[in-house]
Amino acid sequence: MYLVVSIAILITMALALVRALLGPSVYDRMLAVNMFGTKTVLLLSVIAFLYGRPDFLDLALAYALINFVGVLAVLEFFQSRSIRRAADRVDGG
């Protein structure tokens, strides 16, 4: 059963990857990366049980906590970029 679930997760990862490769916009790719992240957390949890080593859940927890920081960094990046562009527009015009 774990196997079935992990295969479902793997296929979803592949689908997300396809989305990441197709784009078309940057945001679609970011969305795919984010999906990929949560799927990795799930996959790691499932594999930990599949292997019979539930003490490795730490890893999934680490991902769940850290992945989020990357996404927020992206938001911050876009925010400061839009501010910068606005400033540039003022400079230019």
Binding site: D58, A62, V69
Partner: protein, 330 residues
């Protein structure tokens, strides 16, 4: 079964790598690097390398994305597509790939227990660790004690990078003069203060991220984890705060002298344990002389050096982050 997992993940990995190289949008490339790192970590996990997967998680998901974005914000987002000598490069690459694949055919197949790698040194570690060091995580035992000198080197690699980034980005001279429109851009450094949802949720998570980092630090002897992963996770937690409330605010919470103290203190702590080995009549990095019982001494030594590694890594990564962020404020 494991093999099928690995094959699937690896195929995705190769596809991602090709996509990263092909895209001309650097931002997209960085996003895909995130996927690459996730796949890498999943692969490590499937191949029984829990510690390495945790490290990849701590580094790949947080720190390296943040660093890349920091650098992209300061440089450019698109590459201009001038590729010089594409065919020559392609030729070199294809030939080398073929050589490598040629060399694989007599390699032991994945997981072959009779492979020479599993014969000589490795079984000794697995046999002797419970007896000589008395902790369950053999990776930590090898990392901290048997090959503790490598780990000392590793810490100093990070410290060197930290010194280097501070040196290179700290220089004020040069052809570049920061534009005087500082106050118009003040909001650029202020983080996500105006976004309610990330701010509240992120702030709620920070103490737990840091606690988790400390947990990873102190349980490195029992489960996957250790000083480096812990340092990276804690640094990520504080970077999260910097993203939320602005870099200046983060520097107020954890000021620069503290960071420098962590770097220097951590590295020195590790070195001091080594020197203590000499002082107490052993050799450099010999922990067994630290306590009456050699096994206890080893455990104590590993604990202390892990703390040293954690401090140094956390301080270094944060200093590096701040060096990039401070550059952005000009």
């Amino acid at each position: 079964m494991v093999i099928l997992f690995a094959v699937f993940l690896l195929t995705l990995l190769a596809l991602t790598a090709v996509a990263i190289v092909r895209t001309e949008n650097l931002f997209v490339a960085v996003m895909l690097t995130g996927i690459f790192s996730l796949l890498m970590a999943a692969n490590f996990f499937v191949l029984d390398a829990a510690d390495v997967a945790l490290t990849e998680a701590a580094v790949g998901a947080g720190i390296s994305t943040v660093l890349f974005l920091g650098a992209l914000a300061l440089t450019a987002e698109h590459e201009r597509s001038v590729v010089s000598g594409r065919w020559l490069s392609m030729g070199i690459v294809v030939v080398t790939t073929l050589i490598l694949i040629y060399a694989t055919f007599d390699k032991p197949r994945l997981g072959d227990p009779r492979a020479p790698v599993h014969q000589h040194v490795a079984p000794w570690y697995l046999d002797q660790t419970p007896e000589l060091i008395g902790i369950p995580n053999v990776v930590t035992a090898v990392l901290g004690s048997f090959r503790g000198y490598d780990t000392l080197g590793e810490v100093f690699v990070v410290v060197t990078a930290c010194i280097g980034v501070l040196f290179i980005l700290g220089v004020r001279r040069g052809g570049y003069s920061p534009s005087p429109d500082g106050d118009r851009l003040t909001t650029a450094g202020s983080g996500l203060r105006h976004h309610l949802i990330p701010k509240v949720v992120g702030r709620l998570l920070i103490p737990f991220i840091v606690l988790f980092g400390l947990y990873v630090l102190f349980h490195g002897e029992y489960g996957p984890g250790g000083g480096f992963q812990a340092g990276a996770i804690i640094a990520t937690g504080i970077i999260l705060y910097a993203l939320l409330d602005g870099e200046a605010q983060a520097l107020k919470a954890v000021p620069r002298p503290v960071l420098m103290g962590m770097v220097v203190g951590g590295a020195t702590l590790y070195g001091a344990v080594g020197v203590a080995g000499i002082a107490l009549g052993g050799s450099f990095l010999d922990y067994s002389v630290l306590a009456d019982d050699p096994v206890k001494g080893q455990q104590l030594g590993i604990l202390i050096i892990e703390v040293g590694v954690g401090l140094a890594v956390c301080g270094s990564l944060l200093s590096i982050f701040h060096a990039f962020a401070a550059r952005g404020r000009h």
